[in-house]
């Protein structure tokens, strides 16, 4: 790897973070293994076409972006009484076995260079534990990043026949000049017959390089829904995936992004149909203005044993500026013929007819465009179950409108 952070990243640094959290030795071992593996790991997969890398991670200088032992942040971790919403150190104290069993079980800490870096260095985190039979709404995890770099870890474990809705939000704070780096790893282990909706709004400032990796494993008859909104960051690489591991499982992945200035937003949505009778619906809507660039990869992977699969994917990008660029690659990998699968992707500008209709009613053009852009996100907003997330999303959209 050309991008090494060895100058600041040593076993000593890792042990210092571990001491601060007062964590058990097994976790520190995992961190050190990840640290050792860094040299051999590559960057996350990015799409290449002849002569072009859709996202360039190899040139990022992590050494200047990462300051591993300064990790100032503010965090709200709240939820209703019947569900346990714990800071990572509390969780390791009160629910060590749950964490030990689930940690790294959905996302391999050594999947790539950046997941390993996150595993070695995460200094903050949240564990949401939903006991059997509990239905909980509106768990909220808010992180304000006040440091140069921050490595955040979230684990959601739902026991049989429970349900939960979660809102996660990242914002920038503090007075840090220059480039910053945020890394967030989210694992969800959804138990039998459970329902999880995990909504996330990433709205970090435009000096921040962002890597997030979210992955759920769905057990029999469970359902995991994601809302993945990426608005902030200078360069964002965000991946959200569901493994439909149990029979009768379902996932909806709803994505939204809105790039302005010279933002680069790379989002991947992937579903793995690994069992019979599974259903997936992937919908992403994005808007690009100024010189922003988006990269979208959507993968519907139907395994050999995934009989009776239904899998759908739609992606739409609205381009408001000629200087922006939208790249998209929706992929179907189908290994079982007992499948109904489709995908579609569209790119275009605001419908000139709609615009004409509105301007002819006396609405000026910028305002009319804004209204159409807001309307474009409605299918995503309507699916959000946590009111606060819907309000935050709406506010984030309005902030970026032209008038």
């Amino acid at each position: 790897m050309s991008t090494q952070v060895h100058a600041t990243l040593t076993e000593e640094t890792v042990r210092q973070i571990a001491d601060d959290l007062d964590e058990p030795e097994w976790l520190t071992e995992k961190r050190l293994e990840a640290l050792d593996a860094l040299d051999d790991l590559g960057m996350p997969h990015v799409i290449r076409t002849p002569g072009r890398d859709w996202t360039n991670l190899a040139d990022l200088d992590y050494e200047t972006l990462v300051d591993p032992i300064s990790y100032a942040e503010e965090k709200d971790q709240v939820g209703p009484d019947e569900v346990e919403v714990l800071a990572i150190s509390e969780a390791l104290d009160q629910r060590e076995e749950v964490v030990r069993e689930a940690f790294g079980s959905v996302i391999d800490p050594q999947e790539n260079y950046l997941t390993a870096l996150s595993t070695a260095l995460f200094s903050t985190g949240t564990v949401v534990y939903v006991p059997e039979g509990v239905d909980a709404e509106d768990v909220t995890i808010r992180t304000t990043m006040n440091s140069r770099s921050l490595f955040n870890y979230t684990l959601v474990v739902t026991e049989e026949s429970s349900s939960v809705t979660i809102l996660e939000r990242q914002e920038s704070g503090g007075d840090v000049a220059g480039d910053r780096y945020y890394s967030g790893v989210v694992e969800i282990a959804a138990g039998k017959n459970t329902q999880v909706q995990y909504g996330s709004l990433q709205d970090l400032d435009q000096d921040t390089y962002v890597y997030t990796r979210k992955h759920a494993s769905a057990s029999r008859d469970s359902r995991v829904d994601w809302i993945e909104a990426n608005f902030g960051g200078r360069l964002t690489k965000a991946g959200v995936e569901t493994d439909l591991d149990g029979e009768g499982t379902e996932t909806n992945i709803l994505g939204a992004f809105y790039g302005i200035d010279d933002q680069h937003i790379d989002v991947d949505a992937r579903v793995w149909h690994n069992a019979e009778n599974t259903t997936a619906d992937l919908t992403t809507r994005g808007v690009l203005d100024d010189e922003a660039r988006s990269v979208y990869e959507g993968v519907q992977n139907v395994g050999r044993e995934a009989w009776r699969t239904n899998s759908y994917q739609r992606e739409a990008t609205l381009m408001l500026s000629d200087e922006s660029e939208a790249d998209a690659s929706p992929k179907l990998i189908i290994n079982n013929h007992d499948t109904e699968a489709s995908h579609s992707a569209t790119v275009g500008q605001v419908d000139p007819q709609d615009l004409f209709y509105m301007t002819s009613r006396g609405v000026d053009e910028d305002r009319a465009t804004d209204m159409l852009v807001e309307g474009f996100f409605v299918p995503i907003l309507d699916a959000v179950e946590v009111d606060e997330l819907r309000e935050d999303l709406t506010a984030a959209i309005r902030e970026r409108l032209r008038s």
């Binding site: 922006s324 179907l332 013929h337 499948t339 995908h343 992707a345």
Partner: protein
């Protein structure tokens, strides 16, 4: 006898799978060295500049790595280029291609008779070329087109007779050898193929056809096709390919370059039925000027592995591209095919229609790229991919890539994958069809939007090949 009857009455084995004794005047031996290249060039009596181009391509080939990092790409590990014989000049008395069938040796004539080439020429074509191993052995064009200045000759002859044109257009701006490893290989060892030149304003009303046949075990065929359509001209070129099956692998790595000038219209149709020991790795590309139209129609039925993505570069305003592609993968086949379109000028338009069928463990993949450059205002592209799967051993992938750098565009991609419908089969069975006939009828309906775009002779041929695939009687 109509062509359809003719084809139906011809036994499959007899039509494609027959083998002839190898007849070679010159063979290069296996492998690839500078010496091989010099031997080929000398045997052809080529000018120095062409030898230089070959040697440069060889150096590029040696430098470039095998493509291994494409997601889901066909396995090329069994392909050993050192084991391929790149050049076999058949032992035909006339050094240059004859224009009389009767001049051909009996076994070669018999080969093309079985493939239905003279039959097709009489019925529906303006001109025919036939390549056996590395050389074109027969080439003929109707006089009426020759009188209008249309040129249709084998590529080796064109190097001599149209040296200036070939020197300007051959693997320079369209498919440079640096494009990919197999384009470099092609540039080093190319032999045979067609040169087509259509003067300004001339419409060649009936298609011209070339048929490529590999007969020898372990050989590589590297024919080069160069088509230059001057402004406001029109031509339809058809290419057919086949080979008998051997234990050793054959390699087909053709190069196709098409220049569509202002207002010209070129259609390039291929029905590929290489044997299932053939690696089919081609580079085909067109540069389309203002108001020009390029149409690629490709049927990929044969081969062990195919990697083929015909490309149009829409360089002038209002240039248009249409792609129609059908892939059918049976047992042991990996058909990785699709399309590439670069929209480099305003008001350019492309449509891509892909239909694929996988059966008995075969894999099909649609792999496509649409690029709309900054400045290509008011361009539009529509991509539609449909795939049909017969069974649970097969695989059907779809991998489109879109790069959009302009906002006033209309970009749409749609894809569906499904199994052959039990209800449809049941309905047809209840009307008295047996299971196989019902499935054949459903497949014929599935690809109909494409076959109806083909000249009737080829629609019939394609349907017949698909029927043969369905019967499992090929390969």
């Amino acid at each position: 006898m109509s062509s359809e009857e003719h084809l139906k009455q011809t036994d499959t084995e007899e039509r494609f799978e027959f083998k002839k004794e190898q007849r070679a005047a010159v063979t290069s031996g296996k492998g690839l060295t500078e010496e091989t290249i010099r031997l080929i060039s000398e045997d052809k009596g080529e000018p120095d500049w062409m030898l230089e181009r070959r040697l440069r391509a060889l150096r590029l080939f040696e430098e470039m790595p095998m493509p291994t990092d494409w997601p889901g790409q066909p396995d090329l590990s069994e392909l050993d280029i050192e084991e391929i014989v790149p050049y076999i000049r058949p032992d035909v008395e006339a050094r240059d291609a004859t224009n009389e069938w009767d001049d051909l040796p009996d076994d070669i004539k018999d080969t093309f008779d079985k493939l239905g080439i003279p039959e097709a020429e009489r019925k529906a074509l303006s001109g025919v070329g036939a390549q056996y191993e590395s050389e074109v052995v027969y080439q003929n064009m109707q006089e009426q087109w020759e009188e209008k200045g249309v040129v249709f000759m084998n590529m080796d002859e064109a190097v001599q007779e149209h040296e200036d044109l070939v020197r300007e257009y051959f693997m320079t701006s369209c498919v440079p050898p640096s494009d990919n490893k197999f384009a470099a290989l092609h540039g080093a060892v190319w032999s045979g193929g067609s040169f087509v030149y259509v003067p300004e304003g001339v419409t060649v009303q009936m298609p011209v056809q070339a048929y490529f046949r590999m007969n020898s075990e372990g050989m590589g065929q590297f024919e080069h096709t160069l088509i230059i359509a001057e402004p406001n001209s029109e031509v339809h070129y058809i290419e057919g390919c086949s080979a008998p099956k051997y234990a050793a692998h054959n390699l087909h790595s053709g190069g196709v370059e098409v220049f569509v000038k202002e207002g010209a219209h070129v259609q390039y149709s291929t029905v590929q039925n290489w044997s299932r020991n053939t690696y089919n790795l081609n580079t085909k590309r067109a540069i389309v000027e203002e108001d020009g139209t390029m149409e690629w129609i490709s049927g990929s039925m044969g081969s062990k592995a195919t990697m083929l993505y015909p490309c149009s570069i829409l360089k002038g305003r209002n240039a248009t591209d249409n792609h129609i592609t059908i892939a059918f993968a049976g047992e042991g086949q990996d058909i990785d095919t699709g399309a590439k379109v670069y929209h480099n000028a305003p008001r350019t338009k492309s449509t891509i229609e892909s239909k694929s069928i996988s059966k008995d463990g075969g894999r099909t993949n649609y792999r496509g790229l649409v690029h709309i450059s900054d400045g290509a205002e008011h361009s539009s592209t529509a991509v539609e991919c449909d795939a049909l799967m017969f069974d649970n051993e097969s695989t059907s992938d779809t991998m489109p890539y879109m790069e959009i750098q302009e906002s006033t565009v209309d970009v749409a991609h749609e894809a569906t994958v499904g199994k052959i419908g039990d209800e449809d089969v049941f309905y047809l069975q209840s009307r008295g069809l047996d299971d196989d006939d019902a499935k054949q009828m459903i497949v014929a309906g599935f690809i109909e939007p494409i076959t109806e775009e083909l000249p009737i002779e080829y629609a019939v041929e394609l349907n017949r090949l698909i029927e043969l695939e369905m019967e499992g009687s090929l390969g």
